[in-house]
């Protein structure tokens, strides 16, 4: 019996590629969660609810994509929430000062990557832990927000307003915002970069084992600095989307967003130590958090503390199931 059972041993690998199991499990669980929503609350089945999840999380998605790059290399970027706020704040204040929209966009989109680049350099060349560098970056960006203004600034610029209020939708009245399209574009580009470019593969290699990557002759320095720059860029884009979304810059917006984003990335199956994960997983992670939030709002009977407890509980249930499915398929 032994030898026969073993002759098939070489192909014992399940036909489903094992590395896709976590993402597929997450997708399945997400659908289950959506199903629960639909069965419990009638208006939940409305397609606009799904669209709203995207509209409301478009900027989170973009930031999470940037974070995925960083986490894939085994790093972490705590500055994202503050950079988002800073970008929105800078845009709002420049627009208030009457600068043309195009110029403001360029400036706003430059600040984030520049900060990211500097942080990347500090992390790589001075070998300081990413946590601490990006925490300083977080302080800095948030400090810039309150430095610019300690109260929120409205945006009345025509371009911003039209980006904000443009609805792209079907005759039935369902719609998405332009931000959602931008977010999708970012996701697709990022997925392509990670899967099909040399740089993308280097990101995985550095996350797998930076020392080995170095000895394999890969540009570790460039890759490391680049991911923080990309994260900065994504945060900047996220900041612009947020300023479309709220048509304002507020010093305290997006506080604690970094944790949500990291959570989304990790829930999406990316391992915090780096080297494995997909952008698509990150999309799912963001959706999971978005749907949980939607479920809570639809329920509408929870008081403030039960809200938190239920969010934690749903998160727990989700992660537990995800983990158990993962183990089963191993």
């Amino acid at each position: 019996m032994s030898s026969t059972s073993l002759s098939t041993g070489r192909s014992w690998r399940p036909s489903l590629p094992r590395r896709h199991v976590p993402v597929l499990a997450t997708l399945a669980l997400l659908l289950v969660m959506y199903g629960i929503g639909v069965s419990q609350y009638r208006a939940f089945s409305n397609i606009q609810v799904v669209f709203n999840v995207f509209i409301d999380n478009g900027f989170v998605l973009v930031v999470a994509v940037g974070m995925t790059f960083v986490i894939l290399t085994g790093g972490i970027d705590l500055s994202v929430g503050s950079v988002v706020a800073m970008t929105a704040m800078v845009s709002a204040s420049l627009l208030r000062d009457g600068l043309p929209a195009a110029l403001v966009l360029v400036i706003a989109l430059l600040i984030g990557p520049t900060l990211g680049f500097l942080m990347g350099c500090a992390i790589h060349f001075f070998e300081i832990q990413p946590f601490i560098v990006t925490l300083a970056g977080m302080f800095f960006a948030r400090g810039m927000c309150t430095f610019i203004s300690d109260s929120s600034i409205s945006i009345t610029d025509g371009f911003w307003t039209s980006m904000s209020q443009q609805r792209i939708g079907d005759p039935a009245g369902n719609f998405v915002s332009i931000s959602v399209l931008i977010a999708f574009a970012v996701v697709l580009i990022a997925a392509y970069v990670l899967a099909y470019t040399r740089f993308g593969r280097n990101v995985y290699a550095v996350g797998g084992n930076a020392q080995s990557a170095l000895l394999m002759g890969l540009p570790v320095a460039r890759t490391r600095i680049a991911v923080y720059t990309i994260s900065g860029l994504c945060s900047a884009i996220g900041g612009i989307l947020l300023s479309f979304y709220t048509l304002s810059g507020a010093p305290l917006i997006a506080v604690g967003m970094e944790l949500d984003v990291i959570a989304a990335v990790v829930i999406g199956g990316t391992v915090l130590t780096g080297g494995s994960g997909y952008v698509f997983g990150t999309v799912l992670g963001v959706l999971v958090l978005g749907v949980i939030q939607t479920l809570i709002t639809f329920d509408g009977s929870l008081n403030s503390w039960w809200t938190k407890i239920v969010i934690g509980g749903l998160l727990f249930a989700f992660i537990l199931l995800q983990r158990l499915i993962g183990i089963r398929f191993k």
Partner: protein, 355 residues
């Protein structure tokens, strides 16, 4: 100049030298700004002054950071400590506020026991999620970070529970031998943890698990137990910190108590020289790190830096602290100043090294 540098080598080579230097520089800067900064006087039979405040206020952070150090040494992270502070403080204050005699030591003891019990349960919960179920630590503890705030507010029903209990208050504000009790408790805890890890083999085993989990498993280490244990220790430390935070203001605020302390604690651990990747840890470094953070906060107030710019100030200081500490940065500086031969001038060197 090199001679001096050489004589100082054993000192500068010490792990704790750079964090300690940073602390000293910060205190010195404050003293320059306000000469009275370091002044300590005796008031009502105990010491009074800014340094004492710093010590007292850093006590909860030291406690949380101690537990965090062990967690981080195993390669994990514990985001739930802030919520645990709030929960334990809330439970203790709730019990005391409901008691007939708030000043009775028995009441306070029961309150502490209840809160400790809760912390143990919640720490075990974290431990099970990480060690048994195998969820990534950051997510596993995020669950309790979110839900824990809710639990704390559930306990306080969203209100601030004010108490009036002398013995409980002493945890945060009492004095012993003219020194604040809080810092003594924190130091005792630090010594206890140090003894617990360095007098036993726990420290070695924690470092081994964090340094190479698979190798540790094959060496026969029960890494699950160890990982479980560190989360419980972290929770207990957080609970103790929670008592201090609430006793300090004689009230439990489910929302604000221990808010963002997890970030400060992680920062303290990292400044203290423990790597977030796990492995070697330094309790002394952590204590110094916590003192640095509290000094920084106090500096902002003492120098009356406007709240609008205080975060910028903090950013600059944190980055400076990291740079001074980073050996790579110092090496670069030295190379630039030319005290160390660079690869640029190898020939000349060769002549100095006769075969």
């Amino acid at each position: 100049m090199t001679a001096v540098a050489d004589r100082l080598r054993p000192l500068t080579g010490h792990r704790l030298f750079w964090p300690a230097l940073v602390l000293v520089v910060m205190l010195a800067a404050n003293t320059v700004y306000r000469p009275g900064f370091l002044a300590v006087e005796v008031k009502n039979g105990h010491l009074y002054g800014t340094p004492i405040d710093i010590l007292r206020l850093s006590a909860p952070l030291i406690l949380v950071a101690l537990g965090m150090t062990l967690v981080i040494a195993t390669g994990g992270i514990d985001l739930s400590v802030g919520s645990l502070c709030a929960i334990s403080g809330a439970i203790a204050c709730l019990h005391i506020s409901g008691a007939a005699d708030q000043n009775s030591p028995a009441t306070v003891a029961t309150a502490l026991a209840l809160a400790f019990g809760a912390a143990l349960v919640l720490g075990a919960w974290n431990g099970i999620l990480v060690a048994v179920i195998g969820i990534q630590p950051i997510i596993a503890t995020l669950i309790l970070m979110v839900a824990g705030r809710g639990i704390a507010q559930l306990v306080t029903e969203g209100q601030i529970i004010t108490i009036n209990s002398g013995p409980y208050r002493a945890i945060g504000l009492g004095h012993f031998l003219t020194l604040p009790l809080a810092i003594l408790i924190a130091l005792a805890a630090a010594l206890l943890v140090a003894a617990f890890t360095r007098r036993t083999a726990l420290g070695l085993i924690v470092e081994s698990v964090g340094g190479n989990a698979e190798a540790s498993r094959l060496a026969g280490i029960r890494s699950r137990r160890i990982v479980f244990l560190v989360y419980v220790i972290s929770a207990v430390c957080a609970a103790l910190a929670g008592f201090m935070v609430t006793a300090n203001v004689s009230s439990a605020d489910g929302n604000a108590a221990g808010l963002w302390i997890e970030l400060d604690a992680i920062l303290a651990v990292v400044i203290g020289g423990t790597s977030l990747a796990g492995g070697r840890f330094s309790l002394g470094g952590t204590v110094l790190g916590a003192l640095i953070i509290q000094t920084l906060t106090t500096t902002v107030y003492a120098m009356n830096i406007s709240p609008q710019t205080s975060l910028l100030f903090k950013a600059v200081v944190v980055i400076a602290v990291c740079l001074v500490q980073a050996p790579a940065f110092r090496a670069r500086l030295r190379r630039r100043r030319g005290t160390e031969p660079g690869p640029a001038a190898p020939q000349r060197e060769k002549e100095q090294v006769p075969a």
